[in-house]
């Protein structure tokens, strides 16, 4: 079954169209990575799926239901979660408060959920009361991912999860992503450092100039020499 289906979506900003009719399918349980040059519309697509930008044409289906143009808090309620590329934590809030915000729409106790996140990212458990703004890039990325996982989403969207991470942490983050996926969460990733990501991915898509121009399985895309030269730094 298709978890997320994008049909001919046109979107962008007031005076600039960025996506010129994107089609994309993210099957249930898979990891899909989108690669492409800067300005190709990768982040714009994520913002559009999440209701931060309104598409001017096309449809977005989540588990066969139309979610086109829903406001972000409604999208969250449907079971999608999104970790933006930068500024993805609340700096003046503590780690624990950041995670609590992830479950804002829930009522009642969050102890079990918090515990679950701290097990996934032990570093965070050790520093629950520390302000997120004082954390290093890697810890911040974990806070952001933890926040997004608080609601047990069915689809997790990650915009450049490994940007600004040290190599050992990059490896850790991708291990976690694989583990999260194992647990049944479908994952959509946008990456520049795409080699690690494509290794994990069932499917890889190439965006350029606001259109999807190529699609293949992750490893096949990684092996494709022309794609490598054009988009993965050879």
């Amino acid at each position: 079954m298709s978890r997320l289906t994008i049909e001919r979506v046109v979107s962008g900003y007031a005076d600039m169209e960025v996506l010129h009719g994107i089609d994309l399918c993210v099957p249930e349980g898979e990891i899909v990575t989108i690669i492409g040059p800067n300005g190709a519309g990768k982040s714009t697509l994520m913002k559009t799926i999440f209701g931060l930008l309104k598409p001017t044409a096309g449809r977005i289906l989540f588990d066969e239901e139309d979610i086109t143009g829903l406001s972000p808090d409604r999208v969250v309620r449907r079971g999608l979660a999104y970790v933006p590329q930068v500024e993805n934590v609340f700096p003046s809030l503590t780690i624990q408060e950041n995670l609590e915000m992830g479950a804002f729409i829930l009522k009642g106790h969050l102890r079990d959920r918090l515990q679950h996140i701290y097990e996934l990212f032990p570093v965070l458990g050790d520093r629950q009361k520390a302000r997120a703004g004082k954390m290093s890039g890697g810890e911040r990325q974990m806070v952001a991912m933890g926040r997004a996982l608080m609601l047990d989403p069915r689809l997790l969207m990650l915009d450049e999860p490994s940007a600004a991470l040290a190599p050992n942490l990059t490896a850790t983050i991708f291990e976690r992503i694989a583990a999260i996926n194992e647990a049944g969460v479908t994952i959509l990733i946008v990456e520049q450092n795409a080699k690690e990501s494509l290794k994990l991915s069932d499917r890889g898509c190439v965006f350029a100039g606001g259109l999807k121009c190529f699609e293949d399985s992750g490893p096949a895309l990684l092996a494709n020499e022309e794609i490598g030269r054009l988009y993965l730094g050879g």
Partner: protein, 257 residues
């Protein structure tokens, strides 16, 4: 040329940078690597006047620049980029770059009235230069767009563009590669190399993309827990067990050829 002597900075109980000493030689592309939280960005902030050190000294060409405010540091020729781009949102991309060169004629109150032609000519020159920089960074298409509309990666490129607008003595780059397409990053590496060779520019850069760092930088400084762990050429650093352990992680050994 850039000498850092026993620099320290603490935030509350956290020693972000402690007794950190290092030297950047003229004409090198020096890499600065280390785990997240090792104090690399804090060090940059100390070098460029965004933070005041608790103790220690920073000097550029034997001139003490410790504790100068950022704009004065900039004028001594230390130029930097930010990890998270700080673009001027309300201006176009090309205007963002045109603002960079200091002491432009049109910045005084009277010049635009008294010498309008010279002001305009200088502005055209700066504009041409800015457009050239944008061309180089593959941003020419978006030159007239509002900077706030750029994609995350494009904003990183604009950051780099700012440093190319002046003639700095040393350029500090804070993760130029994060969020930048790898093919473009490879071209950036080439152009950094060109700037170093042809213009004799000196670079100090923080980056986590090891392909980029190992190919481009020499020497490489490894920071850990606020001070320098080791300095060495790429092949030495790559094989150092402490670096492998604390930073690169096990998987790097396997892919090392």
């Amino acid at each position: 040329m850039l000498v850092v002597d026993r620099l320290s900075k603490r935030f509350g109980g956290l020693k972000a940078v402690q007794s950190c000493s290092l030297t950047v030689e003229v004409g090198t592309i020096t890499g600065l690597i280390g785990p997240n939280g090792a104090g690399k960005t804090t060090l940059f902030n100390l070098l460029t006047g965004f933070l005041k050190p608790d103790s220690g000294r920073v000097s550029l060409d034997d001139r003490d620049v410790t504790g100068l405010p950022p704009h004065r540091v900039f004028r001594t020729g230390i130029c930097r980029t930010f990890q998270i781009p700080k673009e001027l949102k309300g201006m176009t991309v090309v205007e963002n770059l045109m603002l960079v060169p200091p002491k432009q004629l049109g910045e005084t109150i009277w010049n635009p009235f008294v010498r309008p032609r010279r002001v305009r000519r200088q502005e055209m020159e700066i504009r041409d230069k800015a457009l050239g920089v944008l061309e180089f960074l593959e941003l020419a298409e978006v030159a007239e767009q509002q900077a706030s509309q750029l994609s995350g990666g494009q904003k990183k490129l604009l950051e780099l563009g700012r440093t190319l607008m002046t003639n700095p003595r040393i350029v500090l780059l804070d993760e130029p590669g994060a969020g930048v397409n790898r093919t473009l990053l490879k071209r950036l590496a080439e152009s950094i190399r060109t700037l170093q060779k042809d213009l004799g520019l000196t670079f100090l850069l923080i980056e986590h993309d090891m392909d980029f760092v190992m190919r481009l930088c020499a020497p490489i400084i490894v920071m850990s827990e606020g001070s320098v762990l080791m300095v060495g050429d790429p092949d030495v650093v790559q094989r150092d067990p402490r670096v492998l352990d604390a930073y690169l992680g096990g998987q790097y050994v396997a892919t090392d050829d």
